[in-house]
Symmetry: C2
Subunit: 209 residues, 2 copies
Amino acid sequence: MAVQRATNVVWHDGNVGRQERWSKIHGRGATLWFTGLSASGKSTISAALEAALIGRGQPCYRLDGDNIRHGLNRNLGFSAADRAENIRRIGEVSKLFADAGVLSLTAFISPYRADRELVRRLHDDAGLKFIEIYVDAPIAVCETRDPKGMYKRARAGLLKGFTGVDDPYEAPEKPELVLKTGELSVVQSVEVCLSFLEEQGLLLAPRNY
Amino acid sequence: MAVQRATNVVWHDGNVGRQERWSKIHGRGATLWFTGLSASGKSTISAALEAALIGRGQPCYRLDGDNIRHGLNRNLGFSAADRAENIRRIGEVSKLFADAGVLSLTAFISPYRADRELVRRLHDDAGLKFIEIYVDAPIAVCETRDPKGMYKRARAGLLKGFTGVDDPYEAPEKPELVLKTGELSVVQSVEVCLSFLEEQGLLLAPRNY
């Protein structure tokens, strides 16, 4: 295609490069992968972090059970193969958001190390940062919170294969961040995340229109 | 979570609403679904439109064979079921981008009406605009272009199930836009798309940093 100028339009040959894209839309792409037990605080913290980032005007999007299990992954169940495929697809979508210049936050238990490592590799291969955030609360604390009564049902044998009860949670070996949510408040946890993003050059100055 | 203010952080209770999200990141979400024969111009036009939008500072992302077939949909083949699942997943991802406030452009032949209608319904149900753009070039024109020699191989019987040769292309019945690329240049096609986006309130004023 010939390079030419029309009203308000700058024409390019070929594709837009990643750095140019990020800079033009005032975004930075990376994946913040929250992992931890049910009721450890993944959803609460990632939702609060998302609100903080959006409040600053920085593109950001959260993938969680609500928008994934009823959409993209509605045709997956809970077999071992389907659980792995669930995480793989989330990882691929997360990578696309990151490439687009949107900070991608994911909030899934994602209990298996191998599944998370696969997602890390997908990002590495694409030259994108994968930031594993271990939301680390003792299971006793999670069971006390138990907002949906899931632990209670699992302990009663009404739910099978529940992480931490009759299915393992494989804690990250080298996560980029650990949030001990038995000790930190939500506000403190979000501030830890924001500081880390700043150190990594992923936090942009706030802007207003 | 309590409402409180920390440095540069505005705390919210609960989730960020769509309109607030779009306005804060200077984005508008919708899906522009380009459909048409191989070599009709889907990729070229959507890439040029993407470049124009990014050049204006508006969040935008293109899904195409390169970033989907080798990633999210790498485990799909070309059976009837896999083709339908291919389009369904693209539709779901596209919807997530739109929700995030990113204009989502997709460039896939997507030959079957039922598959495209399913994607339209997904967007309708989510209160998001689905803009079907029929990239309409006569097959004779596409065959003359044939940049990858695919038509030649299909005519020689070396490629089976090739759209337009031995598999049907079901043209859209009520597309939001038709681009007759045998008559319009790429620049003209992009301008038609930009005007349509403007009419729909989906084109933001250009900005610079």
